[in-house]
Structure formats: C-alpha cells, structure tokens
Amino acid sequence: MNENTDITSYLAEGGKLSAPGNAPPRYRAELMRMMASFVDSELAGAAGFADCINMGPGVKERIAASRIVLEKHDHAERVLKIMGEFGANTDRYMQVHPWTERVAREEDVGAERRGGDMRLNVFWYPIENWADAVVMNVMMGKATIIQLEELARCSYQPLAEAFREILPRERRHMELGEEGLAGLRASDAGAVLASMDYWRPRVAASFGGRDSERFAMLKKLGLRHRTNADLLTEWDAAVDAVAKSLAA
C-alpha cells in the first residue's frame, strides 16, 4: 500500500481522480463493483421491462415503456464505457449473463446477489402485469434517484459526471411511472396496493445492509458519502408520500 499512501489520504480529504492510471488497487476494485452493479441493474431492468411494453394499455404507455427500455440501455452503455477504460471487455459484456432471467414471484432473494451478475436483488423478481410494472417503476425509480444522487458525488470524476447526466433521465422514468400510477388509481386500485405491498420490502432491500466497516472504507475512498440507512430513510419517506397520495 505504501506507494498509494499519498493518494489514499488525498482521496480521504476529498480529492478526485479522473484517470484509471491513478486508481490504487482497492479503489479500482470497489469502483468496478459499483459500476458493474449499476450496469448489470440497468441491463437486467431494461431486459425485464422490455416484456412489459406489450402490456401497455395504450400507445402512450407503450411509448413510455419503450423509452425507458431504450434509455436504460443507453445508461448501461455510458458506464460500461468507463469500465472499458479500466480494462473491461465492453464487446463481450452483454453476452455473459442472462439478463432476462428471473426467480419465481414468491421466492425471497433477500439482499443477496444471485447468479453471476451484479444486478441489485430487486431485478431478480418478475413483473406480473401492467399495474405491477408501473408500481415497480415508481418505487424502484425513487430508490434509483436517491442512490444515483449519492453516487453522483463519488470521487471518480468521469463516473460522477456520467451519473449526473443520467440522473434527470432516470428521474423522468420515475415521473412517467407516476403519471401511469395516477391513471391506474381509479381503474385498478386493488392491484396497485397489492403491488406496493409486494415491492416495498424488496426495493428496501436494494439499499443493502448496514455494514459500517465497509461503508467507512468506501467513504475514505470518496466513493460513498451517506450511509445505506440514511438513504433508506429518505426513500421510506418518499414512498410514504406516494401511498398517501394514492389514499387521498
């Protein structure tokens, strides 16, 4: 670690990196995992959502779903490009994991990673119908925004910038979901509430555990700033607000 001491304290004091050549081994590893988790979640999420396009009740809904699928692939590509600068094989990346694979609806993945890819747990669950797709999109969309706002502060500047560009578009995806939700409120209230009950604990698990030692390490590297618990609290409040607006 000796030759990295300078750079480690530089990062701990808020310094930023902008080129792979300056990244110490542990930093590189954690950054790659962070990027892989994002890319895999976008790819798996988009693959699952692609099937929902045909569930859309009208042309408008199908356009919204198509746009979400398109842009999530684009977001994956942007971050994958940065992984490529660290040596990942971007041409092959798409081919190595079965992005459409899902577990049974009632199976419990918990907060674990499954299979070979790094997608967040929530992208292992299948979507059942259009209302379910809309609810999942709103709930996970709110989580994505909070998680991306956190990652957009990370010390690897090219990634932070990529996330800052991605953020407004992910926010728009969530808003498209909210618009859909408003429409479903009258016609399909029961299904919406059932879906919310289904997704709430699963999305909550995507914030990860309370491993304080690991967080301290990531914080020192400037890769994280707020704890998982902190982010989860913010999300809980956002979801409470959605539930309240549905009940009103």
């Binding site: 300078d6 750079i7 930023k16 902008s18 542990r26 590893a29 954690e30 992984m83 040596g87 094989n89």
Partner: protein
C-alpha cells in the same frame, strides 16, 4: 482491447532543463484515431530490459492547432521520462494508444465564460490544450491561469504562454506563483489553500468564474479546491486531473515458478489490502477467487466471467491455468496478472497479490 499505433517523432524541442516537447505524426490512414478533445492524454508503451512499461502524458496542443504534441518532464528515476528527455530523437517512432481522458468541459461558441486554470509544474501540459482550445473556440470567453513552479527556469511553456497573452489580448491572464525569485509576497510560495485564499481575496475573482480546472500534485489540488469551494464555487464546476505522481515505478520481476506437481490441494497465500492470508484451494475444482471468498477474504470481483477485470491480481509464485481471459492484455499476462475468477492452480503453492 487497446490498440497501439506507431507515431513518428517529427520534432523534439527542449523546453526547460528537464523537460521536452515531442511533436508526433500518426501513421497515414490512422490520423482520425488521433483527433483529440482538449485536455486528453496519450498512453505510450516501450520495452525496457525486456519488460513493457506504459506511461501517460497530456497532449499540449489546441484541438485546432493541427498538430499532436506532448510535454514530458523528467522524473527522478523515471525510466520512460529519462529516455524521452535524454535519448529520444527526431525520426524515431514511439507507440501510443488513441487519446483518452475526461479533463474538459463541452465547448459552446456562444458562451462568454470565465475559466480558471491551476497548474503545478508539469500539470501545465493539459492546461495548454485547454487554454488554446477554449480561447479559439469560444471567442467571448476568458481564461485565467494560476501557475505554480519552483523557479523561473522551471516554468514549462513560458514563451508560449507569453505569446498566448499577446494573441488573445485581454482574454488570457497568467499569474505565476514561484517558490523562489518572486518579488511580491502574494506571488511567492506554493499553491496552498492559504495562498489561494490570498489570491482570491486580492487578485482573482472566483465569483465571476464558471469553471475551474486543476492539475498538479495531490496536496496542491486539495488546497486549491478547498479554497475555491470556500469562495463560493460549486464543487461540480471543479475539474481535477492528477498525474504522474501516483503512477508506479518500474514493475518488479515475476518470481520464478515452482514446479508443477500433482497434490489435490493448493496452499494459497493471498495478499489483499496490505494483509496476508492463507487458504486452501481444491485443485481443479475451485478458482482462486472462489477459494478466497470461501475463506472469507474480501477479494474483489464482479462478472465472474473473465470479462470485467475487477478480480485482477498478480501471481507472485506458482502457476495457474486461466480458463478464459477477455480482459487482460498480453503484456499484463506476461507480467503475471491473472483474472482470479478464471484461474485454477496448477502448483501446490501459489502466492496471489491483489495490491499490485
């Protein structure tokens, strides 16, 4: 996979006592690969004593200058920079990858922006590219450069900066901060937090600035960014480029391999985050990564498919079979790097180092 191109050295110009500026010509037909964005760098490779070395140097030309140049400052004990300074001559070829890097902001000819640049020593090289490009592409923008050096004769691109002041009269300002030889206290010393605070109070108006670029050694970059933030600049408007100091020196020779033989288990020694751990690996059944994870060692990984390179480590002793490798390049494999998710031990003892 990274592709290297042979670039012809068309000029070697000595800039200061310990720095040179190389002008390079891409091979015919590959010119487009070397169209760069301001602030990007080139990664060169060269073999020294049978071992490949790679070094990155910033391009120090504007995007519309029609020329590809890099500035190389000699570093004590640096093989590549010493070779470039002492031996490299016009007419030779040197291998480089296409330009990379993200030290820039999108240009907009209609904007009237005020840029601040902070360079320490050879940190000036990408700044030259930024200054020239911005002043050329954005006719209403201005650029203020604060440039720290030990002494006058250590200032790289001194004449060129003077020329730029004359060409872009009123739009380009340079403030030299020198550790010695400066007559005025404000411009004497190092670019520290305190120095920047003083400059921002009396000389440079941070409030009028839209963006700041910083390139230099770590302490300087931290000091400058802290001062900028304290004077009201949004963190997102500050761009950092750290160079050279963190690049490792010459790679060590790979240890001699132990002879392969047929026990069922391999004793593995794993170096990670400065700690040394031991674990057993079932030969033929477990990858190095699987065994490390089974032993509660926090080894890095992501794809487990030989594609992403997150699990990269160096084999210091022993031998492994790598089943798939889509991420490491030949030179890395030659140096002993392996993808631990794809590596199965062949020898009874292996030593794996994740910290190299």
């Amino acid at each position: 996979m990274a592709q290297f191109y042979p670039l012809r050295v068309t000029d070697v110009k000595r800039d200061t006592r310990d720095s040179v500026i190389l002008t390079l010509a891409p091979p015919a037909g590959d010119e487009d690969a070397f169209n760069f964005i301001q602030g990007q760098y080139l990664t060169f490779r060269r073999t020294f004593d049978g071992e490949e070395m790679r070094r990155s140097y910033s391009i120090c030309a504007g995007v519309n200058d029609g020329v590809l140049r890099v500035g190389i400052k000699k570093v004590d004990g640096g093989w590549f920079s010493s070779w470039a300074n002492d031996e490299l001559e016009t007419g030779e070829t040197i291998e480089a990858m296409a330009p990379m890097g993200n030290f820039h902001a999108a240009l907009n000819p209609d904007e009237a922006r005020h840029y601040l640049g902070f360079a320490g020593g050879s940190g000036i090289t990408p700044m030259i590219s930024l200054i020239k490009t911005v002043l050329d592409a954005e006719p209403h923008s201005k650029f203020t450069l604060i440039y720290g050096n030990r002494s006058t004769n250590a200032i790289m691109f001194r004449e060129e900066l003077e020329d730029l002041k004359n060409i872009h009269m009123g739009r380009f300002t340079v403030v030299h901060v020198l550790e010695s030889e400066a007559d005025i206290d404000l411009f004497s010393g190092r670019l520290t937090r305190e120095k920047c605070d003083a400059l921002f109070e009396r000389w440079v108006d941070v409030c009028s600035a839209d963006l700041a670029f910083i390139c230099g050694p770590e302490p300087m970059m931290l000091g400058v960014s802290d001062a900028l933030k304290a004077h009201g600049m949004d963190e997102r408007a500050i761009k950092f480029e750290l160079f050279a100091s963190a690049q490792p020196g010459r790679a060590k020779k790979r240890a001699e391999s132990a002879s392969a033989d047929g026990g069922a288990q391999t004793k593995a020694t794993i170096v990670l985050d400065g700690a040394v751990r031991e674990c057993d690996i079932d030969k033929g059944a477990q990858s190095v990564l699987e065994a490390a994870l089974a032993a509660d060692i926090d080894a890095p990984f992501a794809c487990k498919a030989g594609v992403c390179s997150t699990c990269r480590a160096k084999i210091v002793e022993g031998e492994v079979d790598m089943e798939a490798n889509y991420a490491l390049e030949d030179y890395e494999v030659e140096r002993g790097y392996i993808l631990t998710c794809q590596s199965y031990p062949r020898t009874d003892k292996i030593v794996i180092d994740y910290d190299q």
